[in-house]
């Protein structure tokens, strides 16, 4: 279901609006260790239908990441687009990519879309007003059951020969892992932007860079000039990558969720060259505050305001802050 196209004109006012569509939020969950009660409380700020997609994870850490990812999605859409919380409908494509169902014709951006990622200690979200956005976080974990060399060998078919050379010629096994994970992160962000699964023929996707800057990609030997990539290192051995690119490259199922696919050259160039906003660190309390500040408050919230003696629960402090 496609929304009608919104004609827009370049102008300073519009420029600022467009830049507002470029968001990068990140949460460090290593600092968030909620009790089961606090966890349920945080979860209660999401629509009921999201609960099973969080609780289906066996491990608590995965549930945490899933919960925070969803909080980020709803909070970001609410804050940036101003859609009342209870009107936000986020669904997933068959491949699992979340998207906003845009029934609202008043959406300010030509093609607002977002992507979330989580790995290790971080959960993050990125949005764009025109171009597709893909986001990936990797934690540079040291393999447990095998050597670094054995580990990377498992993935050799996913890399081009020049990328593989770079990985193999690293000075140390630590460095080899770092290079490996960075290339993997770039590839993931790229396929996630388009909404395809891992099945994309990744050995045909070759990333070029100058010490991880000025990154561009060649697919089947041809440079994709309508894509941009950024790679950042996050503390404690993590990398995060943003891919920004051509909506026409979206996979069929994802394409149907987009508001606008075709852009004229000038408009697209503009979207491609918007500043790449830096990441803003948010906390779970921030996100709940953004959602809580929305018009719709869960009807049973009074039962959640059970200020217990549990000192470890940030909720109690949060509730006190709200007065």
């Amino acid at each position: 279901m496609r929304c009608g196209q919104v004609r827009y004109q370049l102008g300073e006012h519009r420029e600022m609006e467009l830049e507002n569509g470029v968001q990068r939020w990140i949460v460090d969950i290593s600092n968030w260790n909620p009790s089961p009660h606090c966890f349920s409380f945080a979860m209660s700020f999401l629509p009921n239908h999201e609960y099973s997609s969080i609780t289906r994870f066996v491990e608590l850490e995965d549930q945490k990441r899933a919960l925070v990812s969803r909080l980020l999605q709803y909070a970001l859409v609410h804050q940036v687009l101003g859609i009342p919380f209870d009107e936000i409908i986020i669904r997933r494509t068959p491949e699992g990519k979340p998207y906003l169902v845009c029934d609202n014709m008043k959406l300010a951006f030509p093609n607002f879309n977002f992507n979330a990622s989580h790995h290790g200690d971080y959960v993050a979200i990125a949005s764009e007003p025109i171009c597709l956005v893909g986001l990936d976080i990797v934690s540079h974990s040291v393999p447990k059951n095998e050597t670094a060399y054995e580990f990377v060998q498992n993935f050799s078919s996913y890399f081009s020969s020049s990328e593989w050379n770079h990985i193999m010629h690293a000075g140390s096994s630590d460095e080899m892992l770092h290079i490996f994970y960075r290339y993997w992160c770039l590839k993931e962000a790229f396929v996630k932007a388009m909404g395809t699964g891992v099945g994309y023929k990744l050995d045909d996707v070759e990333f070029h860079h100058m010490n991880w800057n000025n990154i561009f990609v060649e697919v089947a030997g041809k440079e994709l000039k309508d894509w941009k990539f950024w790679l950042l290192d996050l503390g404690r051995n993590h990398s995060v990558c943003i891919a920004r690119g051509q909506p026409r490259a979206a996979t069929t199922s994802y394409r149907t969720t987009l508001k606008q696919i075709k852009f004229d050259d000038e408009e697209y160039y503009h979207g491609l060259h918007l500043p790449n906003a830096s990441f803003t660190f948010r906390t779970v309390e921030d996100l709940i505050q953004v959602i809580y500040g929305a018009d719709q408050v869960p009807s049973d919230i009074s039962t959640k305001f059970d200020v217990s003696e549990d000192e470890g629960c940030e909720r109690a402090r949060f509730v006190q802050q709200l007065g």
């Binding site: 239908h49 999201e50 099973s52 997609s53 289906r56 994870f57 066996v58 491990e59 850490e61 995965d62 669904r91 997933r92 068959p94 491949e95 699992g96 790995h119 447990k144 059951n145 580990f151 498992n154 993935f155 078919s157 996913y158 993997w184 993931e188 395809t196 699964g197 891992v198 099945g199």
Partner: protein, 134 residues
């Protein structure tokens, strides 16, 4: 989003057909993208009915998955367990398939690898590939 529990249709372990007739069976399975959530639609071109794999195979797959995902020994890993729900990311999924190839002496094509998202599906695919080799 409604949560759809997808599972492959399978016959009880005492399957009357011999292993070398596996290739003649019509199989039913749901096709998923490897990375995350199950498809909400059947893909009619991929209907197949599978014989359930031997329990030993399922157990071995559980062991490999548990090891790859560093899950505690008492965590619930069964045939129905979805890799993603156990916390497998894209890297884990590749390694799990590699581990299965090594353990069972089989070679998994990338397209087939993408269709397995549960322990049971992995076990069924292993039995299928072993039977073809035999």
């Amino acid at each position: 989003m409604a949560s759809i529990t997808a599972s492959s249709v399978s016959f009880p372990a005492s399957c009357p057909l011999k292993q070398n007739q596996v290739s003649d069976l019509k199989k039913v399975s749901l096709s998923f993208s490897r990375k995350s959530f199950p498809s909400l639609r059947f893909q009619p071109s991929r209907f197949r009915i599978a014989c359930a794999a031997k329990p030993e195979t399922v157990d071995k797959v559980c062991e490999i998955v548990r090891k790859q995902l560093a899950l505690p020994a008492d965590s619930a890993v069964t045939g129905e367990s979805k890799f993603a729900s156990l916390g497998a990311d894209s890297l884990d999924t590749v390694e799990i398939v590699m581990g299965l190839e090594e353990e069972f002496g089989i070679s998994v094509e990338e397209e087939s690898a993408q269709t397995i998202t549960t322990v049971q599906e992995a076990a069924d695919m292993i039995e299928n590939l072993k039977a073809k080799k035999a």
